[in-house]
């Protein structure tokens, strides 16, 4: 499988007072297309920073990040936004649904930003609503949904643009066991359908389900396991 993500010598340094904090330090990493990687590590180790960099929400202070064989670090804000829109889907621990919008409106949001016309938006939203069995919740606002349903809506939103990569940050961290299991099933099914899945977690049990595991400690990859 060709590589979809190639990181070489990625640094992410923060200036805190007169101290430089190396959140990521000389990271080299290749992720294959259709891969399934768990990013593990203690809190503050830099795993979320890595996920944000991969999702182009953050810029590295040094190094190269090639996505689909294109250098991303030199892209403009507008170009990066378009990559986030078209190729990357985020799933967050706290769902991050817009509270005043209904489930359907939340799902349509990325398509709204992409300028897709209302008819197609509606159809695509219908499809993902059906895929994640939340059709009957389409008109509900997030506060009328259970945690599991919220995360389904969030996943529906992340996948409605048919991205190549799903970045999940503790996707089950805020769910009970049963719902967490369901959500994992959904996400892993996406991976089986060919989407590259990168998931941050500190749950070793979840991490063990991935095809690859990396462990980040103090901004460096301490361990890289393949199954």
């Amino acid at each position: 499988m060709p590589a979809i993500i190639q990181l070489s010598n990625i640094d992410r340094h923060f200036q805190v007072g007169d101290q430089t904090v190396k959140a990521l330090d000389k990271i080299n990493l290749t992720i294959e297309q259709g891969g399934y990687m768990a990013v593990m590590g203690p809190s503050g180790s830099g795993k979320s920073t890595l996920l944000n960099l991969l999702g182009l929400l953050d810029r590295p202070t040094g190094g190269q990040y090639r996505l689909n064989d294109h250098e991303t670090t030199t892209l403009s804000d507008e170009q990066q936004a378009s990559i986030r829109r078209e190729q990357i889907g985020f799933v967050f621990q706290f769902f991050h649904l817009v509270p005043r919008l209904t489930a359907r409106e939340n799902i349509e949001l990325p398509m709204l930003l992409a300028g897709i016309d209302p008819d197609e938006r509606h159809q695509r939203a219908n499809k993902v609503l059906a895929d994640y069995s939340i059709v009957d919740r389409a008109g509900h606002r997030p506060d009328q949904l259970s945690g599991g349903q919220r995360q389904r809506v969030a996943i529906a939103r992340a996948t409605v643009m048919q991205p190549k990569i799903i970045l999940a940050d503790e996707p089950t961290g805020n769910l009970d066991r049963a719902n967490g299991h369901d959500v994992m099933e959904i996400i892993e099914q996406l991976n089986r359908d060919g989407i590259t899945l990168i998931m941050v977690t500190h749950d070793p049990e979840l991490g063990a389900r991935a095809h690859e595991q990396i462990r980040i400690v103090d901004g460096q990859i301490a361990e890289h396991l393949r199954r």
Partner: protein, 401 residues
């Protein structure tokens, strides 16, 4: 993101913060309404004055005794009192080229009687062309006859209200009324005309100028009204009039000659300045509304950090976020402005209804100006919050709960 999507999205943000929304709309609306109301009042005052002056008649040059200028530090001890303006002066003016009509007038007040009814009335001494110059229309009878202005004649033209009050439903034409010890025959009745120059025409009686001088026992005139052939000749006639009177008064420039145009344009300038000042003061409230919008939007940006972070994560560029918030500011000020205009126009109409004498009306330019100032200030004050939102770092925005 299409415009309609942007608008729809913005409307959803309004949906969830009704109180905040209504406060902002209220502030904007009050600002715009005050601009509209105050400028309407200013315009009303201006139109009132201009109407008053235009009802004096057009192409008019007015001569009155005395010089409106200050000379010397002490009051003159001897012989500086202005000469009277006389009928002879008026007759001499007749020969100036460009002059079509001349009406010497005198004004005073005296009780008038018919049978047992009596009332105090403004008495105007004039001549046979006064009706042309002052645009006086008759209901019945005829205006003053064309006689030598030095000749008295016992005839009177009465205002509509005088007729009503003195005669009631009985015929007035041909009746004899008494003004002090003189008797006058009613030869004409004026149409209802309303007020001009502070004089209610409906409550005036007009008698020949010589009779008025006799009545008030004075050789002098109150004014000489000169009607010119055309507008262009006004200035020329003005200069000639001044020169001629000065010559007749032994080289002393002791009259003031004004033209209606000059008066009108002076008033126009003054009242425009006044209106603009009022509008400027009122605009301060718009400014306040703008600052309020900025404030509330800054709060809104910090409350919606997570949402902004999310929008960025799912593919919004900084530019799109900027537009989203600017749209919000623009929409707010537009809606607030429209409400304000409705409010302002409504209040102006109400005032016009309460004070019918004052032609209060919100002019279109005021409405347009108020709305555009409101929009511009709304968007300008929206720039700062919008930029802050656009610059927001999505990582920290999303990290917070």
């Amino acid at each position: 993101m299409t415009l309609s999507d942007t608008l729809n999205y913005t409307i959803t943000t309004f949906r969830s913060h009704r109180l905040r929304l209504s406060l902002m709309l209220l502030a904007t609306a009050v600002g715009v309404a005050s601009v509209v109301i105050l400028t309407s009042l200013g315009e009303g005052a201006k139109n009132y004055v201009i109407n008053e002056f235009s009802s004096m008649g057009s192409n008019l040059v007015i001569v009155f005794p005395g010089k409106s200028e200050t000379t010397g530090a002490l009051p003159p001890v001897v012989g500086e009192a202005p000469n009277d303006l006389t009928i002879e002066d008026a007759l001499a003016l007749q020969r100036i080229p460009g002059v079509t009509y001349i009406a010497p007038i005198n004004i005073g007040s005296a009780p008038i009687n018919w049978q047992r009814r009596e009332r105090e009335t403004v008495i105007l001494g004039g001549n046979h062309v006064l009706d042309i110059i002052q645009d006086i229309q008759l209901d019945e009878g005829e205006f003053l006859p064309d006689i030598d202005p030095r000749e008295t004649r016992p005839v009177v033209v009465i205002g509509a209200k005088i007729r009503e009050e003195l005669f009631g439903s009985q015929p007035a034409l041909g009746e004899w009324i008494r003004i002090e010890e003189y008797r006058f025959r009613v030869i004409g009745i004026m149409q209802e005309a309303g007020t001009a120059m502070g004089v209610n025409r409906d409550e005036v009686v007009i008698i020949p100028i010589a009779s008025a001088q006799q009545l008030f026992n004075t050789p002098s005139l109150f004014r000489i009204l000169i009607h010119t052939q055309s507008r262009e000749q006004i200035e020329l006639v003005r200069d000639d009039v001044l020169a001629l009177i000065t010559k007749r008064h032994d080289g002393e420039e002791d009259v003031t000659v004004i033209t209606q145009d000059a008066v009108l344009s002076a008033f126009d300038r003054i009242l425009n300045a006044l209106t603009m000042t009022i509008a400027g003061i009122a605009s301060v409230s718009l400014l306040v509304a703008g600052v309020l919008i900025m404030n509330v939007m800054l709060v809104s940006v910090s409350q919606r950090r997570a949402e902004i972070g999310l929008l960025k994560a799912i593919g919004a560029s900084s530019q799109q976020i900027l537009w989203l918030f600017l749209t919000e500011a623009a929409l707010l000020s537009l809606v607030g402005g429209l409400i304000g205009i409705a409010l302002g126009v409504g209040c102006a109409e109400l005032l016009a209804h309460l004070y019918p004498a004052l032609p209060i009306a919100a002019p279109t330019w005021v409405i347009a100006a108020a709305l555009s100032i409101c929009l511009v200030s709304g968007v300008l004050f929206g720039v700062l919050p919008a930029k802050r939102a656009a610059r927001l770092d999505p990582v920290t925005a999303l990290a917070r709960r």
